[in-house]
Symmetry: D2
Subunit: 461 residues, 4 copies
C-alpha cells in the first residue's frame, strides 16, 4: 500500500491534535462551547487512564504494595476505562495520587467544570466546588462533620423542616441534635404555600446560643413548600455568627433557587451549599457537588474524608458535562424552565375540570401541587397506587394525618406534608430536568384517566 | 431461510435457560462453582437492568418526580448498563427501591455472595455482610456513627496504633476522640515485630470507663507490625461490655487474619469487621464490606446512612465474584499464600547478600520488612525514590525520626513506623492478591539493582 | 431487604416483556414506529447472541469440529456481542446454521426489515431483499456470477458508462466482457446533463444478440450525469429478454431514484437492484442490499456465495434500522431532500457571485455540479487540493482531458466525466444523507473562501 | 490539589509512551513478544481511529461526497471504535484511503503481522499475505477470478475432491469448470486413509492441456482424508506451467500442513494458499488470509476486488494477534498439537472398548475418524443426532451411501466421504485450536455414554 510520504508527520499531528485539546481542558478547565462526541469522550478517557501508572507502563510496573490497582475481571476494568485507583488518598479527597495522576486530574477537572457550571447557572459568586462520590445527604453529613470538628461544643443544628429523610438523617449521622422549625402556612389555613418561619428560627438561635452549629435551609422542594427564605436565614447567621448550610439538592436546574443563593450571600452568610449530580445533571445516583463562596471553606471538608473513594460519580459528571458542552447545559435548563410552565398550565386546566385547584407556591418552579379534595380521604392512596401501575413514577399523593412517623427516635406529624398543621390532601408532580413535552402530555392525560376511572369505580360501590 | 419447526420453543427455552440461572442466583445467593464468561456477565447485567422501571417499560413509563433515573450522556448510561438509580433509599442503604428493583436485587445478591465468600475464606461464623459504596475508612466511620448514636455518652475510642491515616481519621470524622495505644516492641529493641499492647489497652479501659465507645483493632498491616491480638482485645471487650471494631482492610486474603477473627469471636467480642473490596478482590477503589457475627448488628449501620449511593462498587464486586466463581476465588487466595513464601524466601536471600536481615513478624503473612542499615539514613529516601522511578510502586522505605506528623491536631512520632519507639530503618514490600511470580522476580531484582547502583554512587561521593 | 411479595412474578414478567417485543420482531419483521434506545438494542443483541449454541449452554457444549465459534480475544468477543459464527453456511448465504440460530435469525430479520424499508422509501413492488456482507460492487459481481452460471454462453454486459470504478470492475471480476455505452450530452455541447443513450444500447443489443447477459444501469451518480433512463432500458430488456441490473448505490435516499425503479418495473424488466448500506443508512462500510421484484430471483444469488461470511454488516444495518425506527428513517430521508434544495440554492448564489453556473441535471437530486471556467485549467487540481486541506472531503474537481485512464486493460477518455465528449471543467458536491445545515453553510463558505484566495494568489503570479 | 511541578512533562511523556509503541508497530510490523492488555488494545484502536479524518478533526471536517463515513447509530459507531470507512478503495483492496488513513494503516499492519505469523508457524518462505474480509471460499474465488482474467482461455480447474461445499463452489462462483479427481483409498479397501491420486491428476492435465487454469489442493481436512500430496501436485504444476492454489483452511494450526506448503514450494509450484482467520486464530467468521511466495502474485488478487469492504475481519485478526503476542500464538499452537495426541489416545482406548478402530490417516493431525461398524447403518444418523442434543457440536457421523448429492448441477456419490468408493461408516472428531483438555475428556465420555445408551435402546427393540 502506498501511504503519503509525510505519514509520520500526519501521525504525529493526529496524536498532538487531541492531546492539545485534552491538555487545554486540563489547563483551562473550561467547559467547551459545544459538546464532545462519544468518540472524543472515549479518547479523553483513554488519555486520562493512560496517566495512571498501571496503564502507562503496562508490563514494566511492579506493584509491591497492598493496593496496586489490579482488576481481575476484564468486564469491570472496561467499565472503568481501566482506571482503578479511585480518587483521593488516605489524607484527603483532594490529595493527588502519585500512582494515579490520571484519576487525580479527572477529579481536578471535574471540580473545575462543576464550578464553572454553577457560575453559569446563576451563582456567579461561587468560588469553589468539590464533586464528591457521595449523594447529597452523605455530602451534607461530611460538611457537618468537618464543622463539628472545628467547633466541638456546638452540638445542635437548626433545621427548617422539609420532609425528605436524608436531609434530616444527615444531622443524626453527623452525631448532632436537630432543632426542628416548622414552616409557616401562608394565606388561608391549609390551602397555600409553606414558607420559612424566620421568627421561630431567631427564637431558637436565641435560646440555644453557642450550642448552635449551623442552620440548614433548603431551596428545591415539593410544592406547596416554598424554597426557604435564604436571605432571611443568611442575615440571622451573619448577625449571630452561625454557619449556614443550604440543601440545594435539585436547585441548580431552577434559576430562582440559584438567585436565592446569590442574594443570600450578599445579604448575609452562606457557608456551603450542596447539590445532587444525578438530580441536576442526569447522571446515575452517587455524587453531589459541595460548593462554597470561599475556597478555604472547602478544603476543611475535603480533609475530613477518611480515605479514598470511587471515581465513578466524578467521572460520570465530567463525561456528561463534556457531552453537553456549555450550549447543551443551557439548552437543557432552558427547556426545563419552559416545560415547567407547560406543565403548570396543563395542571391548572385539569384542576378546573376536576373541581380541584393548584395550591399556590410562587417560588417553587419545579414542583406543582393540586388538591385532591374530591377524592375521599381513604381512597387517596388507592389513587396513588393506580397511578404507579399506569407507569407514572414519582407522583406523590399526600394526605395529612394524625399518625406520627418516627425517624431514628424523632417524631413527625403528617410526615410528607412538611408541616404538622397542613390539612389539605393533594397530588404532587414535578417537571425535572430531562422531562419531555410528550411526557407532560402523557402525565396529565393519565392523571385524568385514573381520576375518572376511580370516581366511576367509587360511584358503583 | 428455513428455520427448525420448533424455533419458537427453542427461543422460549433459550430465554428460560439464562433466566433460570439468574433467578437461581437471586434465590440462592450461592457463588457458582466456576466463574461466568464475560458474555454471561453482560447478560446478567441486562437481566438486572431490565428490572429497573426506566428500562422495563421504556416508552411507557412517565417520571413525574425530581429523580427519575434519566441519564443524558449515552456513554455514561452504557458504563452503567443503563442502571441509574443507585442503591438504597433515603431511609436506609438496605431499603428496596420500588422504581429500581434490579438495582436493589443487585445489592441484595452482592451482600449474599459477600457473606458466602467471607465464610469460605475462613470466617465461617460470620452471619451478615453489607457491601458499601464507601472505602474502608468511611465504612468504619459509618459503623462508629451508628454506635455513637446508640450510646451518645461514649465519646472515646481506643485505637491500637497503625500508621495508616484513614483508619485513624475515621474516628475523627465520626466526631469521636481517639485514645492511642502504641504497640509493643518484641524481641531485641527496635529489631523485631510490633505487637498489641494488651496491658495498656486494659489500663485505658479502666481509666475511661463508660466513655469508651469501642476498641479498634487491625489485622492486615505492614510488617513488622503484627496483626493485633484480636483474642486478647475481644476478651477485654467482652468482660467490660465494650464494642470491638476490627479493621480487616486486606485481611480476607490472608488465612491467618481470618482465623484471628474467628478465634476472637469465640474468645470474646467482635462486633463488626470491615474489609476493602479493592484490596481483597481486585476491583476499582470505592467499596468495602461491613461484616458482623449477628444479623441485627448490621441493620443499625445500614440505617444510619442518609440517602442513596452509587451502585458501582457493589456491582463491581458482584461481577468480579461471578467472574471468578468459587474455584477462582480459592485459586487466587491460594496462589497468593504460595507466592508470599516465594517472596519471603527471595527477600531473605537478598537480605543475606546485602548484609541486611528480614525483621521477624511471624503472623504477618502479607508484608515483609527488610532492614536498610547499610544505607546511610539520609540516603534512604533517595533509595525509595529511585525504586519508584524504576517502576516499583507500593514499596515503602521507612525511616524512624524524631519529627512529628500531625493529623487533624494529633501528633505522632515516627509516623509510618507504627510506634514512637521504633529505631530501625527498613524497606517494606507486600505480596498482595493478584501479584504474579514474574512480578516477584522483577521486584527483588530491581531492589537489588537499585541498591547496588546507589551504593556505587555513594562510594564515589 | 424487603422485596415485594410478588417479586418472582415481577421478574418473570420483566423477562417476558422484552422477550415478547423481540419475538414479535422476529415473527413480524416490522420496523418499530419509534426507534429503540441503546439499552434496548443491547438487550436485543444479548437475546440473539444467546441463541447461538456457544452462548446458550456455555459450559455444557463441547465443540468437536474444526470451527466452533471460539473467540480468544475478549475485546473482539465483546465487539461482536459474543456472536462469532457469521452468517450463512457453506451451502448458501441464506442457510440456517443449527449451531448459530441467533446469527441466522439476525440475518433473516435484517433481510425482512431491509425489504420493508425499501418498500417505504418508494419501491413498494420490491418483493425480496438480501443484506450482503459485501459492498455494492462485490454484491453486483455476485449477481452477475449467478446469472452467468445460468447462462454460460452470454458473456457480455452492456454498461451505461458511469465513472465509478467498482461498478465497472464488478463486470471484470465476474469474468464478463463489458460493452461501454457512453451517455449523451443534452442541451448545448459540454454544458448540460448527461443522459442514457438508449439508441446506442439498442444497437449493441442487436449487434451482440445472445451474447448479452444483461444491461447495467445506474440511478445515483455525480451530477451532471443523470440517473439512467431505467424505463427505456427496462423496455429493451423486456422485449429482448435480457436481464437488467440496476446499480442503485445511494439511490434509496432519493425519491426520484426509487420512482425510476418502480416505473421501470411496470414499463419493462428490472431483475435486480443493488444499494449500499453505508451510503443510504449511515453504517460503516461493508454491506449492500440486493433487491428483486421476485422472491425466486434472489435465491439463486444467495446460493452462488461459497461459504460463510461476516455477520457484522448485517448486524450494523439491523441495529441502525431499529435505532431509527420507521419515523427516524423517514425523518432522515425528508431532511436530506429538504437540505438538498438548500445546498442547490446556496450553490446557485455562489455560482452567480463567481461568474460560474450550475450545470443542469434535473433528475439528479443528490449531487450538484458548478462550472469552474474562471479558474485556469491547470490550476483546477490545486483548487481541489486546497479544498481538501481546508477540511472539505468528498468534493471533486473534474477536468476533462485527452489522457486516458486504464482499468484492467480498458481505456477511458476523461475518466471522471462519465463521457469522452465532455468539455467543461467543474466542481461536484453532494448533499448525502446525514449532512446538516451547518455543514452546508460551511461547505459553501469554504468553497468561496478558497476560490478567492486562489484567485488572489494567481493574480500575483 | 497539588500536582507534581513537572506534570506537563509527565503528560507529554505519557502521550509519547504509547504513541511510540504504536508508531513502532506501524513501522516494524512485528508481533510483540508478549500480548497486549485489553486496555492497550483499546488505546491502540483509539490511536488508529483518530487517524481517520472524520475522527481527527471532529467538528472541522465537512463531507461533501456521497460517502462520508457518517454513522447514525451510536452503538454501531462504538462497536467499530468510530472507524467507518472500511478498507480499500474502488480501485483495490490495497489502496490507501486519504480520508481514512487509520483504517488503511490497520489493514497494512494486519497484513504485515499475518505474514510474520505465517512465517513463524512453519512457512518461512512465504513472502506476502493479504487479510481479506471474505471467508476462505470467497477468497479462493477471488484468487481464481484474478487468474482467469489473466488467462481467459483456461476455463477448467482440477480439484482433488474434498467434501466441503465452499471449496467446490468457489470454482463455480468464479465461472470455471471443475474437473473432479477422487482421492485413492490406501491400504485395505474402505478401511484406511484417502490420499491424492497423483496419476489421475496427471492424466487430467494431459487431457485438458491449455484449458487448465489451475489445480486446487487441500491440506486441512477431515480424517480419514489425508492432506493432499502438495509436493506431487506442485511438481506437476511446475512442469506443466499450471497454477496451484492450496486450500489451507485450518492448516496453519498444524505443523505438518505448513511443512507440506514449504516443501511443495521447494519441489515445484505453489502460487497461492488461503487460510481462514476464524479457524486458525479464533476470531468471528468473516476473514481469510491469502498468502503467496511472491509479493507480485498478491497484487493482482487485491486489484480484482471491486470496491471497498468491511474492516472488521481485518481488525479482529489484528486485535487477536496483538492480544496473544508471539508467545501466545506459539502456546496456543503447541497446546493444540499436544492435545491432539491426548484426544487420539483417548479415542483409541474408546475404540478398543467399543470393538471399533481408528482409521489410519497418519498425516492428518487435526481430525480423527473412528469406525462405527457396531452400530447398524440405519441407526447411525440417530447416533449423530443424540450426540448433538447432548451438546456435542461439530462431530460428524459419516455413512457411505449410493444416493447422490447435487451441488449446482454436479453430482457426488457418498458426499461427506470425500470418495465415491468409501465403504466404512465412521465418526469424525477434531481437536482444533482452542479446545481444552476438559473438553476432550467430556467429548470422549459423551460419545461413550451415547453409544451405550443407543445400544441398550436398540437391544430392546
Amino acid at each position: 500500500m502506498e501511504f503519503p510520504k509525510n505519514i509520520s508527520e500526519i501521525i504525529q499531528s493526529s496524536t498532538n491534535y487531541n492531546a492539545n485539546i485534552f491538555a487545554n481542558l486540563w489547563q483551562q478547565k473550561q467547559l467547551p462551547e459545544n459538546g464532545w462526541s462519544d468518540s472524543q469522550l472515549r479518547q479523553f478517557m483513554c488519555w486520562l487512564s493512560n496517566l495512571d501508572s498501571n496503564n502507562t507502563k503496562l508490563r514494566d510496573s511492579i506493584g509491591a504494595g497492598e493496593r496496586e490497582g489490579r482488576v481481575c475481571c476484564p468486564l469491570v476494568s472496561q467499565l472503568h476505562f481501566d482506571m482503578s485507583h479511585g480518587i483521593g488518598r488516605s489524607g484527603s479527597l483532594c490529595e493527588v495520587q502519585p500512582k494515579a495522576l490520571g484519576s487525580s486530574m479527572m477529579a481536578e477537572i471535574a471540580n473545575g467544570l462543576a464550578l464553572k457550571v454553577i457560575n453559569e447557572l446563576g451563582v456567579p459568586s461561587c468560588k469553589a466546588a468539590l464533586v464528591t462520590p457521595l449523594a447529597t445527604g452523605m455530602s451534607m453529613m461530611l460538611v457537618l462533620a468537618s464543622w463539628r470538628q472545628r467547633n466541638p461544643k456546638a452540638t445542635h443544628v437548626i433545621w427548617s423542616r422539609i420532609d425528605q429523610k436524608s436531609c434530616f438523617k444527615c444531622i443524626l449521622a453527623a452525631g448532632l441534635t436537630p432543632i426542628v422549625i416548622e414552616p409557616k402556612l401562608m394565606g388561608t389555613s391549609g390551602s397555600s404555600q409553606l414558607a420559612t418561619d424566620i421568627a421561630e428560627i431567631e427564637k431558637a438561635v436565641e435560646q440555644y446560643g453557642d450550642k448552635i452549629l449551623c442552620v440548614i435551609s433548603t431551596t428545591s422542594c415539593f410544592s406547596p413548600r416554598q424554597p426557604d427564605d435564604l436571605e432571611g436565614i443568611a442575615k440571622i447567621c451573619a448577625t449571630r455568627n452561625i454557619r449556614h448550610l443550604v440543601n440545594n439538592a435539585y436547585g441548580l436546574q431552577s434559576k430562582i433557587c440559584c438567585d436565592l443563593l446569590e442574594k443570600a450571600r450578599i445579604a448575609g452568610r452562606v457557608d456551603c451549599f450542596v447539590q445532587s449530580t444525578d438530580k441536576n445533571f442526569q447522571v446515575p445516583v452517587g455524587g453531589a457537588i459541595i460548593a462554597t463562596f470561599k475556597l478555604s471553606a472547602l478544603k476543611a471538608v475535603a480533609n475530613i474524608y477518611p480515605g479514598r473513594a470511587s471515581a465513578v460519580p466524578v467521572r460520570d459528571l465530567l463525561l456528561t458535562l463534556l457531552h453537553l458542552g456549555k450550549s447543551g447545559v443551557k439548552e437543557i435548563i432552558q427547556t426545563r424552565e419552559k416545560l415547567f410552565h407547560v406543565l403548570r398550565q396543563k395542571m391548572e386546566s385539569l384542576a378546573n375540570k376536576l373541581n380541584e385547584r393548584i395550591i399556590e407556591a410562587p417560588n417553587n418552579l419545579i414542583s406543582i401541587a393540586m388538591t385532591l379534595e374530591t377524592i375521599p380521604v381513604e381512597r387517596c392512596s388507592l389513587f396513588g397506587s393506580i397511578l404507579f401501575h399506569k407507569g407514572v413514577t414519582g407522583a406523590r399523593v399526600i394526605v395529612p394525618s394524625n399518625e406520627e412517623t418516627t425517624i431514628e427516635g424523632y417524631c413527625f406529624k403528617s410526615f410528607g406534608c412538611h408541616s404538622s398543621h397542613w390539612t389539605t390532601r393533594y397530588l404532587n408532580v414535578a417537571c425535572a430536568v430531562g422531562m419531555t413535552e410528550y411526557q407532560i402530555d402523557e402525565l396529565v392525560k393519565r392523571i385524568e384517566t385514573v381520576y375518572f376511572e376511580l370516581l366511576k369505580k367509587l360511584s358503583k360501590e
